[in-house]
């Protein structure tokens, strides 16, 4: 035993407190805290969220396709549901998520490989502009304004 171990309170002093994380909730949600974040941090958070949305849609899509196994009546009644405008609006949200995830992924690929580090802000806003225009076009098209 070294001399320092014999000093009362040493063990208590060597115990650290909890690790503080950003935001409320469990520690793992710290990346979600929007306070004080710049466009990069918010893009990262949105990238993760849209990624989860796309994965969830994939499984939902597979589940919907499995309805074909039940029969044509089940499929027909499902089609009447998904062609409602309120449901079509969700498709616009899905398209927005896919576009953001894809365009931001291109930006991250360029910046993350050290190719366009100094142009990352321009890439971000260029992707935002392209994505916004595409979502508006898709929304008008899907919801029938162009048809």
């Amino acid at each position: 035993m070294s001399a320092i171990d014999e000093i009362p309170g040493t063990a208590e002093r060597e115990q650290h407190g909890p690790i503080h994380h950003k935001g409320p909730g469990p520690a793992e949600s710290g990346w979600l805290d929007p306070r004080g974040r710049g466009h990069g941090g918010r893009a990262l958070a949105l990238h993760r969220i849209t990624g989860l949305v796309i994965v969830a849609y994939l499984y939902l899509h597979l589940g919907v396709l499995s309805m074909l196994l039940i029969g044509s009546s089940a499929w027909s009644s499902f089609l009447s549901l998904v062609t409602a405008k309120s449901f079509l609006a969700l498709e616009v949200v899905l398209i927005a998520a896919v576009l953001f995830h894809g365009l931001n992924g291109i930006r991250v690929a360029f910046v993350g490989s050290g190719i366009a580090v100094t142009r990352e802000r321009g890439l971000f806003w260029a992707g935002t502009a392209i994505g916004t225009a595409a979502v508006i076009f898709a929304a008008l098209h899907i919801l029938g304004a162009l048809s």
């Binding site: 070294s2 001399a3 320092i4 208590e12 115990q15 650290h16 407190g17 909890p18 690790i19 503080h20 994380h21 950003k22 935001g23 520690a27 793992e28 710290g30 990346w31 805290d33 306070r35 004080g36 974040r37 710049g38 990069g40 941090g41 893009a43 990262l44 958070a45 990238h47 991250v108 910046v111 993350g112 490989s113 050290g114 190719i115 580090v117 100094t118 990352e120």
Partner: protein
């Protein structure tokens, strides 16, 4: 200190003129208290009051038990880093006039809290590449040695450095706190080792294995000026799974850095080096 205290406890400024007050919500944690909480204080402020001024005013006039860490008061030492409304700031240069009516002050994230606003920085420094010359701490002198040690993979490792090193005579100094003079003292230019980048990093929030922006920036700085360090070793260190590839390009580290050390850009430079290799003329010269 040149601080001029106002009679009867205000304002928390070095300049004259008490303009208004701000409500401070200050994070509190004391070992054994059974949890974390926020305490609220009304603090009189002037036109040039900083967050650190306000915290010191609270400590002096409202709650002496409030623990905070600071030293130079001019953004050089990097010790007074806190989160102000969730944003990483050096308290000594963060004006309260730039904040809202209510200001929430929390300790840095992603590092263990010692007490209140004071975090344990060992975990921050232990992340640095062991080749980095500044990351050396004092330690127990070996038999006939000079006592210089450095951190390597989180453990202190004795260095074999020339020359005698005077030691203090206090037994604790002999055991754990010997303070030999710094040798080969070279620091990452601009970086003040404040830990704000690690706190701001969203990836560090979910992965304690990630070495973090400051350490990777230090590694990239080593590539710029190796001074005898093996570049391949540094690249191998940076290219580990918990190294540069764990970064998700949130770029919050560069945004939080008060010294413009551009850690995110340095991480991307490391990635470029690992992906494409450096220019031929850099080999053996940098």
């Amino acid at each position: 200190m040149s601080e001029e205290e106002h009679p009867a406890g205000g304002p928390a400024v070095t300049q004259t003129g008490q303009d208004d007050t701000r409500r401070f919500r200050v994070f509190r944690y004391k070992r054994g208290d059974g949890g974390e909480r926020f305490d609220e204080f009304e603090v009189p402020v002037g036109p040039h009051t900083t967050v650190l001024d306000a915290l010191r005013w609270i400590k002096q006039h409202k709650d002496p038990s409030l623990a905070l860490r600071f030293s130079c008061l001019h953004a050089s030492c990097g010790t007074c880093g806190v989160q102000v409304d969730g944003r990483e700031e050096l308290g000594c240069v963060c004006s309260v006039q730039d904040q809202g009516a209510e200001i929430t002050v929390e300790p840095l994230a992603n590092l263990p809290i010692l007490t209140d606003l004071v975090v344990e920085m060992n975990g921050f420094f232990a992340r640095f590449p062991h080749e980095h010359p500044i990351i050396r701490s004092s330690g127990i002198p070996a038999e006939g040695g000079n006592g210089q040690v450095h951190l390597e993979g989180g453990h202190e490792v004795m260095l074999d450095l020339p020359g005698p090193v005077p030691l203090h005579h206090h037994p604790l100094h002999h055991q754990h706190r010997a303070a030999p003079p710094a040798v080969d003292f070279v620091r990452l230019e601009d970086c003040i080792e404040c830990g704000l980048c690690l706190s701001a990093c969203p990836v560090a929030a979910t992965s304690h294995e990630y070495v973090g922006p400051a350490a990777l920036a230090a590694a990239e700085r080593l590539l710029e000026e190796p001074r005898g360090v093996n570049r391949e070793d540094v690249l191998a260190w940076a290219g580990r799974p918990e190294g540069v590839w764990r970064c998700h390009v949130g770029l919050e580290c560069t945004r939080a850095c008060p010294a413009e050390a551009i850690p995110a850009e340095r991480i991307m430079a490391l990635r470029r080096e690992l992906t494409f290799g450096g220019p031929d003329d850099q080999e053996g010269e940098r």
